[in-house]
Amino acid sequence: MGDHVLEVSNLTMQFYGIKALDNIGMTISAEEFVGIVGTNGSGKTTFVNVMTGYLTPSSGSVKVLGREIGGLHPFHLTRMGVSRSFQIAQLFLELTVEENLLLSLAARENVYRKVRMPLKTKHYLKEARELMNLFKLEKRANSKCLELPGGDRKVLDIAMAFALRPVLMFLDEPTSGVSTEEKFQIMEILVEALQERGVTVVFIEHDMEIVQKFAHRVLDFDEGKIIADGLPEEVLQN
């Protein structure tokens, strides 16, 4: 299969003494939904950080969308169609929910350098409104992110990454901090929208029910190694 969205071989990431990723190899094909599970500190976030160019691996090779990512920064990879959400929401806290989303759109449409047009034009406001409706944030449109509860912050964080229309998307614990009732709802909305667009998804998740329900395939991380890789039923049994 030449159609790998992600190809990783012999990947090691070392922080001083700790090997956060230890000689990892695997591939992910287009339109797969891959769940990553594993205990805290097993290297899941580090894996996403390396895949998106935030960290430079100590050794090994990573090919994203057919391209070796050595030396590429997060903004390069984002432009290539790789986006991510964060374990701890990364927002512009002083701006409103709507403005956060508008900046995402301005970045995607490559108009973020523009000085002569206003950010809040009808066209972009409409799309921002649609996104807020989709993610059930419309009541919060004009609240500063500083005032948002944790759950809404996480959802906005995901919405901002989603707004970029990625080809490959990493979600770092998308439902942590979201209330139990809303967890499934958010995942359902998100997964449906992503599937519709044919996005390849890698998501880190602690809630086994969610993994069971949404993943086509599960990777189990432990001390920087992938100790199991297979169908959810197989992997989750252990």
């Binding site: 984002t78 403005e99 900046l103 000085v115 206003p118 809040k120 004009n142 970029l164």
Partner: protein
């Protein structure tokens, strides 16, 4: 016409009237204040993305010296040529130094910009042959459209010219504040990681901001040189940069155009402080600065905003950071 432009032309008209009725010394003070406002607006832009430049006097001094040297060595006195030369000098110097400083943030950014301006100050003092050392350079009265300024009205014409440039800058600032780029600046201040993960190269955006701010500084510096008729190395001294930071802080980055109000206020306070308590100017400056940081971190803009809120909600200007839909 949109409300901003109505207000814009009203205020501009007001300034013209003020220029006609006030005594010459006061008009001169006002002219100088406006030039400094233009320079400080560049510092404001950087402040908006969370960066303090303690060395912005370098770029205005570059503009001022470029003007003076063009007049002296090329014999060009046409204001419509020498001012663009000043702007070019501001842009060029900011571009070169911006390449180095745009990778730094916070303290490093503040102190490295300051270091460069001090080095430039040292250069201006020591390169006597070129810059006249501490004696500085004289700038003879400029010409406009090739002819000398009308006799007896030179200062007034220069005031109006300065006002035109101020209007231009004010318009740009107003647009910028509401533009994607303006919001991006706040984004860079708020969360650089997110900016990168939107696919935006932060360092390049900072460099761009730095160059724009250098452009304003060069313009303000050039105008300052033409208006004051004499420049010296002190123009690049770090305390002068500190004053631009002060003006920005006093004005408040919530509304960039407040920079002109802040600049006028500072110039008049200074003028009175110099005549009554000449040794205490720095203390007054520092004292006010501390009071603002502690009690009104949003500066004059914050004070105006909360006062307007209390008086009448409709008086309030639309704040790009809070309200939405201004187009």
């Amino acid at each position: 016409m949109r409300p901003f432009y109505t207000k814009f032309f009203l205020i501009l008209g007001l300034f013209v009237v003020i220029g006609i009725i006030v005594p010459a010394w006061m008009r001169y003070l006002l002219t100088i204040a406006l030039c400094k406002g233009i320079i400080a607006s560049g510092v404001m832009l950087l402040l908006k993305c969370g960066l303090v430049s303690f060395g912005h006097a370098l770029y205005s001094a570059a503009g001022a010296y470029a003007v003076a040297l063009t007049v002296k060595h090329l014999g060009v006195r046409e204001i419509l040529i020498i001012i663009p030369v000043g702007v070019a000098a501001g842009i060029l110097s900011a571009a070169v130094i911006g390449l180095i400083v745009s990778r730094y943030r916070e303290i490093f950014f503040a102190m490295i910009t300051m270091a460069f301006s001090m080095a430039f100050y040292g250069f201006l003092v020591k390169a006597y042959g070129l810059t006249g050392g501490t004696d500085g350079l004289r700038i003879p009265p400029p010409t406009l459209f090739g002819s000398a300024l009308p006799e007896g009205y030179e200062r007034f014409v220069l005031y109006i010219l300065t006002l035109i440039f101020v209007a231009l800058v004010a318009g740009i600032l107003h647009k910028t504040e509401r533009s994607p780029f303006g919001f991006l600046l706040q984004g860079i201040k708020g969360n650089e990681v997110r900016v990168s993960y939107l696919g935006i190269p932060v360092q390049r955006a900072v460099l761009r901001t730095f160059i724009i701010s250098g452009c304003f500084a060069g313009l303000g510096g050039g105008l300052l040189a033409v208006n004051s008729g004499h420049i010296d190395p002190h123009l690049s001294y770090w305390t002068v940069s500190g004053e631009f930071v002060f003006i920005s802080l006093l004005s408040g980055v919530g509304n960039l155009n407040f920079v002109f109000i802040g600049a006028i206020l500072v110039e008049f306070i200074r003028s009175y402080a110099f005549s009554y308590v000449p040794y205490l100017w720095q203390m007054i400056l520092g004292g006010i600065m501390l009071l603002i940081i502690i009690f009104s971190p949003g500066g004059l803009w914050q004070i105006y905003n909360s006062a307007a809120d209390r008086l009448k909600p409709s008086l309030k200007d639309s704040n790009p950071g809070v309200k939405h839909n201004d187009s």
